[in-house]
Amino acid sequence: MKKKVTLWYEFFKGVWDINPAFKQILGMCPTLAVTVSAINGIAMALATTFVLVFSSLIISLVRKLIPSQVRIAAYIVIIASFVTIVDMVMKAQFQELSKALGPFIPLIVVNCIILGRAEAFASKNTPFRAILDALGNGAGFLLALFVIGGIREILGSRTLLGFQVLPNSYDPMIVMILPAGAFLTFGLLMGFANAYALRKNRKVAETNIFKYKLEREKLKATEV
């Protein structure tokens, strides 16, 4: 069964089908807290992706060595080492971003996406697939944070990635850079994503019903 999943889907499912933010609803803390601007969202997502990829790789490599009773502790040790690396690099190289993201970089240790992927995927799959899955989930998280951060930045402070996109005559909505704006944006985006998925599923179901009816009519015709 597992062999049938293509390598492309292993990567792509994280971007849309099981998008960490919109579908798995994991990593809510950074999703809501740091997306005041698009650049913060990108930085947060890249830091998370880095930790996710390397911890998935290591966990996948040592998955047969770790006794299952102590696996969470072992995962946390592995994840924490990479988080420390990210935190130190960001403090040394990108001080402004590090200050803006504040405690959320060290908090990647307890980010549910990383532990969730480690538990659900990396501990059961080969290293190559684990890396692809981690990259896909990281890309999905990046997409989510960039979209939320972009919308909040445009509406809340007229800019996108630091460049002014809306004219000065536009009155910035202060609510969008407050926590309430994060909940509002995230909730609406999740609603749209779910509505889209629902509509797609309904179309599939409708075609199945159509096929069934066609089949039944054929049977009736042959009976008569």
Binding site: D171, I174, M176
Partner: protein
């Protein structure tokens, strides 16, 4: 939908007991719009004819949003039932005079889209749509929405504090008589208690709104206001001041009585009204904001399902 069907032969499919209202939904919606007329007139008298543009913008954008969402969701477009007009008028009447028209339009879109249609349209909204719009505007444009103008019939009027803001920040108590007539600064339709009472009593006497919510809110305000007034009449304002100040009267008769977002049971309505008054008093006297009617009603709207659950009458003969 069932206009073509002769109503005498219509089959009732809901379970008993059936309760009949004197008015259809559409009729009662337009009666509420009629009851808002005195407040609209008071807004024009005290703040000038220009203020009608705020009401007009608000109503038009409410209607447009409703039509657009109904169209996108492929539902029947029911603009003539008047509910979107009510939301637009209510939202316009609780905005400050000379408020930016662009912001009014944003508030109207938010009120209908996030306050009503996102829950499934009329009858399904948890919160009062107009108050959702107002709360969003309060958070989005905190400066614009707290810029008040003195009523002096001119377009470029002098800005001044509302009675509640004056009490909170300058410790100045406003005289009660102008607060009854409406000759004070404040939101468009909220200043004149007289106009609001005329509209509200009209609605109660023709049976469109239940008397329990307004009465329990007013009694509650008199009780809780008196408690603090008796404790220290120097620091705390009299209950009558509290009753007439800010949006309390408007909220009492038009916001809290919203059929959809208020409790269904008689006891529940009384509890609902009392608790709104309690929260209003607490916010006004001890909170950071001068006025709290909006947040009090929104907060209690969230408790309505709980109130309904615990006050639902026992079914006769049912096992406890």
């Amino acid at each position: 939908m069932d206009n073509a069907v002769n109503p005498t032969y219509r089959l009732e499919l809901s379970s008993s007991p059936h309760i009949h209202s004197r008015w259809t939904v559409k009729q009662s919606m337009w009666l509420v719009n009629l009851a808002l007329l005195p407040s609209i007139i008071s807004a024009v008298i005290f703040f000038g004819i220009f203020q009608l543009s705020i009401l007009f913008t608000s109503v038009v954008f409410c209607l447009l949003t409703e039509a657009a969402i109904k169209y996108l969701r492929k539902r029947q477009i029911t603009l003539m039932d008047g509910s979107a007009v009510i939301t637009g008028l209510l939202l316009g009447l609780i905005l400050p005079p000379n408020f930016s028209l662009v912001s009014t339009a944003i508030g109207a879109v938010v009120a209908i889209a996030l306050g009503k249609e996102i829950f499934g349209g009329l009858g399904n909204n948890i919160f009062n749509p107009a108050l959702v719009g107002r709360a969003f505007l309060q958070a989005a444009f905190p400066v614009g929405i707290t810029t008040w103008h003195q009523p002096n019939y001119a377009l470029d009027s002098v800005s001044s504090a509302t009675p509640l803001a004056a009490l909170k920040f300058d410790k100045v108590l406003t005289d009660i008589t102008p607060m009854f007539w409406g000759n004070i600064s404040g939101s468009l339709g909220e200043t004149s208690a007289l106009a609001v009472i005329i509209g509200g009593l009209f609605l109660i006497f023709i049976g469109v709104v239940n008397w329990r919510v307004p009465v329990s809110m007013i009694v509650g305000m008199l009780i809780f206001g008196s408690i603090f007034w008796i404790i220290d009449p120097v620091i705390y304002p009299s209950p009558f001041f509290q009753l007439l100040a800010g949006g309390f009267m408007f909220g009492t008769f038009f916001m809290a009585t919203d059929w959809v977002s208020s409790p269904l049971t008689s006891r529940g309505m009384l509890i609902f009204g009392f608790l709104i008054s309690f929260i209003v008093v607490i916010i006004r006297l001890f909170g950071g904001l001068p006025e709290g009617v909006m947040y009090a009603i929104l907060l209690m709207n969230a408790f309505v399902p709980l109130i309904n659950k615990y006050t639902s009458p026992k079914i006769f003969g049912a096992e406890k």
